[in-house]
């Protein structure tokens, strides 16, 4: 039964989790991705393998909410905890199926900015965020990239202020020319809908809009000319059962709000 009372973050997490297949190696960044991977492992992907930057490699969902990527929760009953070298080296060896990241700004080729907004060459104009963290490494070498991020016209932009994490760079063939081993962006889940990328043009298109949204509303919150799938549809809301599992992962609402 579909839930009638759920938060936007909960919808995003459940929808995002559906992009993870069982048996995949998923490298999760800090934030909502940590909730998504736990949810996937506890529902449809019990054989998923979780990697984090802190160096945790595990076959089971952590015993409680992992707030950080080197959270003590990730090391209780972990399968291996060698430190950052071991998990990030696996990325470079091409062993990670899904690189799962957040971001602050994105363009139509899925290039992501998590460094800051403004003009970097004029420091007084630049508002620093955290920086790349592992997002760049994950998106360079993961077989496919899953991104989860908020949407408004300042976040879905024609050109990112600072290119931290590569999408398809300036279009078809650019990743290959740069020698990247990973396949690039696959799916983006925003606060308004779900996006995929055209295999030929490498451009992002709207595949789904969330309940309560519409193609028009989504377009109004995107600063580039947004392509829309001819099969665009409304996202199926989460079920009561899914929401119950989810709230059990983050009972204080640290990430879910």
């Amino acid at each position: 039964m579909h839930a009638t009372n759920y938060k936007l973050t909960e919808l995003m997490v459940v929808r995002c989790a559906k992009e993870i297949k069982d048996n995949e190696v998923v490298f999760a960044g800090v934030g909502l991705p940590l909730v998504v991977v736990s949810f996937a492992m506890l529902t449809h992907a019990p054989n998923m393998i979780l990697f984090t930057e802190g160096g945790s490699i595990r076959a089971t969902a952590p015993p409680g909410l992992a707030i950080t990527v080197d959270d003590p929760a990730l090391f209780c009953n972990g399968d291996a905890t060698f430190g950052m070298l071991s998990t990030m080296a696996a990325l470079q060896r091409g062993e990670v199926d899904v690189a799962f990241i957040g971001g602050a700004q994105i363009d139509k080729y899925g290039n992501i900015n998590s460094t800051g907004v403004g003009d970097w060459t004029r420091p007084e104009s630049f508002t620093y965020f955290a920086g790349s963290g592992g997002a760049n490494d994950m998106a360079t070498s993961g077989k496919r990239v899953l991104a989860i991020m908020p949407q408004d016209p300042k976040k879905f932009v024609e050109t990112v202020d600072y290119l931290t994490t590569p999408g398809f760079l300036d279009g078809p063939g650019a990743r290959e020319r740069a020698g990247m081993i990973g396949g690039g962006p696959d799916v983006v889940v925003s606060t308004m809908g779900v996006y995929k990328f055209d295999a030929k043009t490498c451009e992002m298109y709207l595949a789904e809009y969330f309940p309560g949204q519409s193609v028009e509303k989504v377009k109004a919150n995107c600063s580039f000319a947004l392509n829309v799938s001819p099969d665009v549809r409304e996202t199926t809301p989460p079920t009561e059962k899914e929401i119950a599992v989810l709230r059990n992962i983050d009972p204080t609402g640290f990430y879910l709000g």
């Binding site: 950080t68 990527v69 003590p72 420091p123 955290a130 490494d137 290119l163 931290t164 990247m180």
Partner: protein, 330 residues
């Protein structure tokens, strides 16, 4: 030679950190060397350069806010509990602190190159991004000498001094850490030119560490100073000792947010505390013993397999004849 390196936080920082030093800043989102951070601020160290992969809970942020840092080389600086590094942001905008960005694994690789004693190391990330454009100090693109293909090269980082927090150390300077081996601390510490300052939750006899040397992340010869410092990573977590103090990080973050407020936090919690135990006393005063008790972890995640390193004495071969076919047939 066995030298007792146990000293106070004050001695460790005044003896071993000089103005203008490059510091490996230990930890990640947990195990942040907060007690050493506070002491560096208290002693008003100047013109420091920091190198590390990623750092959370605003430790580096308040060190920058206190005016100790001129250059940062990092992938990610945060107080995750207020979702920004406010003092770093202000210091960048006012050009007080220069920032050199690179990816997490580029930073880790820079530390590994320093650890290995080689001048640079190739990594797969960073190519095609603005980090390469804006950080030519740490990053460039080179040709693979074997295939001719382009790949990012990262400069090796060898700090002057490494500052780390660990669960256990002995007085000689052997450092033991478990659960991710300190994330990148074993590389950052071993690559440091002068050596390592370590704060530890507990000080044990060298025999304790020598009975389980797989868990040693820094062997004693690299260590300059050992400081017994319970809660030395607070408000970040220390595996097996305490969890993240989310509420305190949020509290500290409110002060980081504003240039006029941050000095008030520093006056109260850093300059106003003689050392780290005074800081913890103040914490108990303000938030109660229950505030501290709330951070205690659920224990019982202990190894189930009792390891035995098992020594075999080669003396058993004394008098045993060579194994020959004659020996077998005899």
């Amino acid at each position: 030679m066995a030298v007792n390196k146990l000293m106070t936080l004050k001695e460790a920082v005044s003896r071993h950190i000089k103005d203008g030093d490059t510091i490996y800043y230990g930890g990640f989102q947990i195990m942040v060397p907060m007690a050493i951070t506070h002491e560096i601020i208290r002693q008003k160290k100047k013109d420091l350069t920091t190198v590390e992969s990623s750092t959370d809970v605003g430790g580096l942020d308040i060190m920058v806010g206190a005016g100790c840092v001129k250059e940062i080389h990092s992938a990610w600086i945060m107080n995750w509990y207020v979702k920004a590094p406010y003092a770093v942001r202000r210091a960048f905008q006012s050009k007080m602190t220069k920032r050199y960005d690179l990816s997490n694994f580029a930073a880790t690789s820079a530390l590994i190159a320093g650890f290995m004693g080689v001048p640079f190391i190739p990594v797969r990330g960073n190519i095609g991004t603005d980090m390469l454009k804006h950080n030519p100090v740490d990053l460039t693109v080179v040709k693979d000498p074997f295939t001719g293909e382009e790949i990012t090269a990262v400069r090796a980082w060898n700090a002057d001094v490494a500052i780390i927090h660990a669960q256990v150390a002995d007085t000689l300077g052997n450092v033991m850490s478990w659960g991710t081996r300190g994330v990148t601390d074993e590389f950052g510490a071993m690559g440091a030119k002068r050596g390592v300052i370590v704060t530890a939750e507990e000080i044990v006899e060298p025999e304790v560490i020598r009975a389980d040397p797989d868990r040693t992340v820094v062997p004693y010869f690299k260590t300059l100073a050992v400081v017994h410092c319970p809660w030395g990573a607070h408000p970040s977590a220390c595996r097996g000792y305490y969890g993240l103090d989310i509420r305190f990080s949020q509290y500290q973050g409110k002060y980081e947010r504003n240039a006029d407020l941050l000095p008030k936090f520093l006056d109260e919690w850093v300059y106003g505390c003689e050392d780290h135990s005074a800081y913890i006393k103040k914490y108990i005063q303000k938030f109660g013993q229950e505030g501290l008790d709330r951070l205690k972890p659920t224990l019982g995640f202990k190894p189930k397999y009792q390891v035995d390193y098992g020594y075999h004495d080669p003396g058993v071969w004394k008098g045993v004849p060579q194994y020959t076919d004659e020996y077998i047939n005899a």
